[in-house]
Amino acid sequence: AAMRSRAEVDATLQTAKLNPAELLPVVHCLSFGPQAGGGECCLLQLEPGLCAELEAGRSLIIRGEKDEHAVLCSKDKTYDMKIADTSNMLLFVPGCKTPEELKADQASCNIIHPQIAGFSKNYWELRRCRPKLKKLRKLLMEDPYEGPDSQKDQASTFSKYTTEDLLNLIQASEEEILHQLQVIDACKIEGYWRILDFDYEMKLLNHVTQLIDSESWPLSKVPLCACLEELGSLEPREMIEHILLSYGRKYVDDGEVFFEMHEDKICRAIAQMLLQNAVKFNLSEFQEVWQQSVPEGMTTRLDQLQGLALVDRSSRPETIFLLKVEDLPEDNQERFNSLFGIREKWTEVDITPYIQDLCAEKQTVGALLTKYARSSMLNGVKVYNSRRPIS
């Protein structure tokens, strides 16, 4: 179809009984562009900050395998995507000017022919969500690193994952993924991210704690160089440094590198080592053995085991058993179902370490409990149980 002329526009204005004197001189004659009906364009509603990121030239990535809901990832945040329907028709028009732009622009032409690029009745809506990081651990646990002497590595047919691989497979932003890798003490071996096999990790830790003991170093000042020298013949130097980084805080004093060892983290790891050998333990017996097993100068406390082990104070004698929060479902409802399956009624103190990670940006544990649990009183103490019958 031929483009409308100014004369045709003016004729229409006359028929419509609109006074040209009351209108700005420029008219937009809108028509549908060649691809308009194709449906290749869609609209994405931007949350605060994302517009600025795009204008700065940064990319956003939509991630999700077939069985996953799609999420949108910026450099450091993750968003759920949902289609929002409007009852109206939304047309997207390039080259269309606003009244302000027309008034500011002193162009001489009085007719513009924008072509509508596309239209839609719906758009993508975003909602900030927790990054889906459980899969990260699952992938790395497919093939934990057992040390250089392990026969497994040479013959291994399991996938190993580079940073790029993980970015493709995990529904989270790059920053969130890199942060989580640090949290779970993953390390890069030959370009691939690996998690240490627990037994190997304990072996490494044991080398270090025994050396600290025999050298009588203070726990807050463990020298890196000496460790590498003494232990370098037993284990790869990168592994020695990795275990020090995992269980200590690195700092420099007078040009030399030292580590301040994390007492809580070491005690916790040793507890895990003890607890994983049986279904449950007599609490007082466990506490005794545990204290005896930790390095000289360290003190064990039950609160070091939050999210790792659960104490049953209703049994006689009292017992303790391994329950790792990272082994529980990631989805909120499934997590609560799982917890109530393990124990019918929970106090807030006991359940908090197992639901803390579910809290969204400004959500509290209390809010989660209100939503997913029902409270009641038991022996004068407030307890929470499931809202629905657990099969």
Binding site: P34, G37, C41, C51, L54, G57, F92, P94, L169
Partner: protein, 115 residues
């Protein structure tokens, strides 16, 4: 979802929001067919003439801007980021919309009176 056009600023488009459906006069392809004339009054009120209707609207600055996404490539295109990430290009940003919510006023063609 990458901004297209390299270092240049992203194009700014405008959203037109209309009630109801958009249908071409003639059946067949929408592409190339006219929608209507868009005018603004001196006060900045958008006026859209579509067929025999006049629509009055208003200019709205969007609290949450939109990005216009175009899906890149088909199954045949080798993707540098693996098979599970979709690459969309941001063709433009939309910060303004022209909202036409009023009922269209029909244009009554002047019928000359019989003398």
């Amino acid at each position: 979802v990458s901004p297209s056009g390299g270092t240049g600023a992203l194009a700014q488009w405008v959203l037109l929001e209309l009630q109801g459906e958009v249908e071409p006069r003639q059946s067949g392809d929408l592409a190339g067919s006219l929608l209507g004339d868009l005018h603004y009054t001196c006060e900045g009120v958008p006026v859209l003439i579509v067929g025999h209707h006049i629509l009055y609207g208003k200019v709205v600055q969007l609290e949450k801007p939109f990005a216009v996404l175009v899906k890149q490539g088909g199954a045949s295109q080798p993707s540098p980021v693996g098979p599970h990430s979709h690459y969309y290009t941001v063709t433009a940003l939309i910060k303004t919309k022209l909202l036409f919510k009023t009922r269209p006023k029909p244009i009554i063609t002047h019928v000359p009176r019989k003398v």
